[in-house]
Symmetry: D3
Subunit: 324 residues, 6 copies
């Protein structure tokens, strides 16, 4: 396998996302837009778009809806040949209507009994993790089912065995489990993670760390002992800690088209650059730029090029020059 | 309750139907059209559009998808106040792509674990059947779950108790059960039916009657002893038997826009006119006209008026005059 | 008739509203969106969505355009069985293009010679007002024609006779009449109104009251002597006066999708809660929440649930807690 | 004025045509397509597309809907500078849903009180007829109002005075008047027509001629004494009579997209070629080709080039060669 | 030729503009919107919409794409009869995806080898310039090719000969040439211009003038000696200098729908009013109002009326009154 | 490389295909559908969909249009890693409007100066042909430019060298060259082809063979001496000759949605099955089934599964049983 570009293999569920148009409510819709969404495939796609080598492991029902998902991920060069196909179960769906203040954006998940929730952890050929620098997954996968949780645990332990790094985003979803359930399941997992990614809200509500951002990230680093710990701060940017040193990146001024998938884009940007250069500051900057771009693109998928990101990163740097 | 118009109360599941546009395949779609579909609600809507009084009983998950279903049925004046709402389970869906020869139309059902499949037969206030001339349901409802089957049986027995007629369409669906399972479940039920509606294919494959159409309908009438037995013949029209007399209606010349829902439209036309006038020949003619119109309207729902149907019935009669 | 939920019957015209998409001008459009709009049916729909019992009286031309209107109102559970159908006249239309600063939103009304403008006041079976807590109409209906004005007057006098409350929104429309004509027609009517609803602009320009908002509402209360007087203040919230006490509600922070129908939504929220609990403060809060939500939903029709409104009302209350 | 190309000036109403998509019924539509339609403007557009000089006289309400109409006619090079603009009255509309057998195509006209129906015949500067070879109008214009009828009569008499030919299509519309009313109004007009265009159905039902097609056209020619008499035969082609000689043209094999406007296209093709070359056979062939093409183009407007028509005419001629 | 309204003839390229919808990126699009765009035709259209007489000279490939362009310009009453049609070369295209911060709006030009770039300057019948008050073109046309540059030079010299004013917008496009190339080509041309229009950015970067806006405009006026010099200031309004006197106009508060074409709209407004009344202040006000409106209309084309502009100009004036 | 599935690498141009909707003409369109099309990528996609391993070689301009092309091909699992990216030249486009009789389907090609036409034959790493069973290209590629022709010749000679079969479809395009030019260029190439695919029309018009189909295929086989010679017969099916034996396959009954790409689908089906099993009869049957399916799918790309094809092949076989 080529080692000249960073590589990642992610594991998780992708769903078909149905969304209304122009702020219509689902009840008044006549057509829904159909896209693919899933934190781990979003990550793999974004990683591949940056120039990395990416694969995605999942289990999908073998019907047109399932093929739609695999196709849309493969479109961006992600290797989907390790996906496990089945004639059983169903393809997970979710429905979204975007809100405007004071009406909140609303989501209906319809993902129960999906193929991946019924995965047998031994169905996966975990040997393939050998071919990748990093194994990536998130708390969503852990939450899907006991089988998924086991698969994540096996995957992580195999990664360790092969010397493949583990990157992990806590990605708490309140519709899947409670903060307490999440903490109980994730706490032992996080102790085996090399690149730990978490939002400030998840850090507070699920991982129960508090204090200033600096205090929070130090607590996380001490508790989980990851190679690098990343705390994303929403509209305040992001922060990382490695070898006891804290790095920070400022956010972009944003006009939001579609907020969904921004966290996955950040993760992909950070991990890609960290694997490529080991430069934490650059990794944060690429992550922040990816997250900003993700807000401007309809759907979860990062239709973007490395060149475009470098351009906004450069412009941002210059803008700061001006301000000084 | 007013008794001046025929009245019906139906019982069954309605789903959201997602369809592609312009013969696109699901795998290549970007938007899906969103409509409501369900044999028994189609029936109730078509019945109401003709001028009858109609209600529909079901159990629906209380979310925007569920409200979408109830709204679109109520839009036509069907009483949905007897629907049982729940916060559990899910709203059944199906996906359809229309084919062109030699590519068949394909359907993906995604209706497992829907609210109605989990109905407790005693949740329904069966006393309301008193207020309607007829209780209508189909073999689809029976096939959904054991609970649904019991609910149908209780409904029919309550209808008998209240002197409410029972109309029933066999409506075999191969994705729900085998012909043998269907026969075993439906055979005892059909013995309690007053208006028996069945296609020639279901009669042969499920009810295992054979011979000429005349022989088939006589066999059905003898076996189930319904007040009136109706055998629909697809592109060859329809036939009914009452009091040992056979009635026939010729089909229309058709250009097909959307074939789905034509059987339900036939049933509504037949039952409405039979309840209104008792005239079997007229009932067949209205049923056939409804089925023909249904082929020309996108979606399952019968956007039609009584006047429009009378016009085509008259024109058809005159066309025959010319030919003689 | 059930008395356990608030009930209302409204009277007025509904039109088909054709709107351009994505801020296109009518001259450059190729397709127009087709929706239903009318102050009194908007009110009845919003009232029904909150859980009330609602009916709507009108006169409509019996063609597909007319049926479209009745269907879309019935979709939400409003009783349209009292509508008078006719083969004469036409269905009123209006065309709207949404503007962006400095281009104003523009409307073309094409409602002359509509069926309701030609109503014979005696066509309506006014006895049905007995079955409702409240009879609701607006200044628009009065402005449509002399016949409509007479129908409103008869309706109000019948309501008085039956002990049915009268709620009335001044709803001045400059394309229908001048402020002076409106005042002349409405002044005597308002003296018979129980729930008087008026915007600050209509109060100033049509009803010719001035001073501070407090002075204005007192003047209105003294002049018309309604049971409750409500003055809506646009982006400044709303105010009500009952038994010489003034109540106020703060507005929401808003992102506007479609402003039209917000006043009707306010009215429905206020009247519903006032009938339900008699609590003026709660009624104002529900009205304001309804108006805010209405700004975020495409079209005039309130696709909303009571639960959703309660959620934003609670959040608003807590937000205020934080600020104190 | 240039005399090197045939020229025509037509007079009549154009409406906005709203149509549903994909055979949807109006009652189930959410969007309507918006196009311009009117027999006389269709004629002028088709004439201009062939290379002729064309103008169109009408009276239009000065709002975005009216400008939409004028724009879409001017788009094809038709001179609309003689249109009379007014701030009164309204823009005529019609709504169409295309049917499939046995459901008929349905039209709702909403054209009452349009600007042109209220035209003052003296508003038109009839002197402009001097600048055109031919003045064209149809029975529709005559049917719109007494004022329109007078305007047509004045126009024809002015054309006679200026030596401008008159072409006229009977164009009977049952929604505007009865055959008897039409005959009474049109019979005197037709006696002043130079190019008389009529369908076989209008000839029979309105002009009350019968017999074989040959007998019919002879009767028409004798009765009205036009320079050339044209009888269109629907799916059987068309026939013309000049100087006692009959010419015929065969129809094309057709796949129908949108039938509307085909008669106007025929008229334009016939008149254009007749003015250009005086060759009746060629004029019939161009007319028939135009009508055939019109069936394949969505909307009323002839998006076509002379070259495209010449190609199908040539191919048709060769196809006939093969058959002989 | 009528001399009662201002008249202009412009010369340049128009392209088909394909744009994505709802902020989609080109890579994720399935449909593109198709419109016509070109600085000089935008100018002519906007000028015609104001009531002026306008013509547009170009060279276009004779195919449906080329006819699409001519049609959409003629739709607004611009005379396109002087366009040179050819069967060679191609129709220029451009693709645009609108961005949201921090993602920039991106354009892909695909205009090489277009018909106009291959124009023979002598193909144009320059005598027609006699019939117009003003000849208008821009730096874009000069940049297209050496042939286009020569055509512009000949056009300007012919205009001078006929006493037709020349208006010229520098309109620098970095995708066509460098500032240095532009300056070299434009500097001699600008010395023959009567109405010089330039943005502050083009003035600085291409024409290399600096200092305050007042200094810049004085420098331009001295260097090029135009009858009137106009400097547009983006979000700061616009400024003009004539006879050593400076005029200024304030900008409007704007909500942007589509920014493209705003400069052309300004030019048309300024030139139209300047030709009509000679009043520089009014000309600036109309230009600024046009530019503001252009920001609110999808596409490049000014769907606007003179009345609408006068209304916003009046409102702006009154708003200023209030502020004082 | 895995040798367990048939493998192919194709070489050619892919364009963006813009098409109108619902039989609109380009001149009247407002939106165009955007898809990817190219004979050789169509082939590779269809081959991959059947389960084969496929790659596609081309040269593409590195912009969003170019990435759109590569993405949509990769979506189906075709390896596009051998594509040569460039910042020069342009992406080829074509515009299509579908006709209805007698209006022909019309295409505007806008592919001049595309990246691949400017390919340097040595840019391609021809060594990769070693990894594939077959190298596939068509006469279109040869016609694009002298450089492309040379690249094809080098590719074929490299294939020969590596023992990789060559499959070649004559695919004559009259807009690219004359039959004589095509013959001159292709005749020597065809002598090096292993699997020769040609339509009866191309065989007659370009390769100048005549007689019965049997005579034609024998002539081709003798002249070019391919391992297998395939003659496709349009609506009459297809025929192949190998080792002096002729095989035939009957066509399907078809309803056409989009005819484009059917030839490429046939080729992929034939070559795939021929490589897999060497069974000519089965290869013809799969080719014919693929071509039939291709007629029913919008766009050029074969959204189909092997299972779907096997089903229609089986049904066809049974239908024939019935007929016997």
């Amino acid at each position: 396998m080529k080692k000249d570009v960073p590589s990642v293999i992610s594991f998780g569920e992708s769903m078909i996302r149905f969304s209304t148009k122009n702020f219509e409510r689902i009840e008044q819709a006549h057509e829904l837009e159909m896209r693919v969404a899933g934190a781990e495939s979003n990550f793999a796609i974004a990683f591949a778009r940056l120039g990395g080598r990416a694969a995605w492991i999942s289990k999908i029902t073998n019907n047109p809806l399932g093929r739609f998902i695999a196709n849309k991920i493969r479109e961006h060069g992600v290797d989907v040949s390790h996906v496990i196909w089945t004639n059983d179960y169903r393809v997970g769906l979710y429905f979204i209507e975007f809100g405007k203040k004071p009406r909140p954006t609303q989501v209906i998940y319809d993902r129960k009994n999906s193929a991946i929730a019924n995965i047998d952890p031994n169905e996966v050929d975990w040997e393939i993790l050998k071919d990748y620098d990093t194994f990536h997954t998130t708390g969503i996968t852990v939450a899907l089912s006991e089988n998924c949780k086991k698969a994540v645990e096996i995957g992580i332990s195999k990664a360790k065995e092969f010397g493949t790094r583990v990157s992990f985003d806590v990605n708490y979803r309140s519709k899947l489990w409670s903060p307490e359930e999440a903490f109980k399941a994730l706490d032992p997992i996080l102790k085996n993670v090399d690149i730990l990614l978490v939002t400030k809200d998840d850090a507070r509500n699920v991982l129960k760390v508090d204090g200033t951002y600096e205090e929070m990230i130090h607590t996380l680093a001490e508790r989980y002992n990851a190679e690098v710990t990343v705390l994303t701060l929403g509209s305040e940017g992001a922060m990382a800690l490695k070898d006891d040193r804290i790095y920070k990146a400022e956010p972009y001024e944003l006009e939001v088209v579609d907020r969904i998938g921004a966290g996955d884009a950040f993760d992909a940007g950070f991990v890609y650059e960290y694997l490529r250069s080991g430069d934490i500051q650059k990794a944060l900057e690429l992550g922040i730029a990816m997250a900003a771009y993700a807000h401007t693109i309809p759907g979860d998928i990062m239709f973007v090029t490395k060149d475009e990101l470098e351009l906004v990163i450069t412009q941002k740097a210059h803008a700061h020059d001006v301000l000084r």
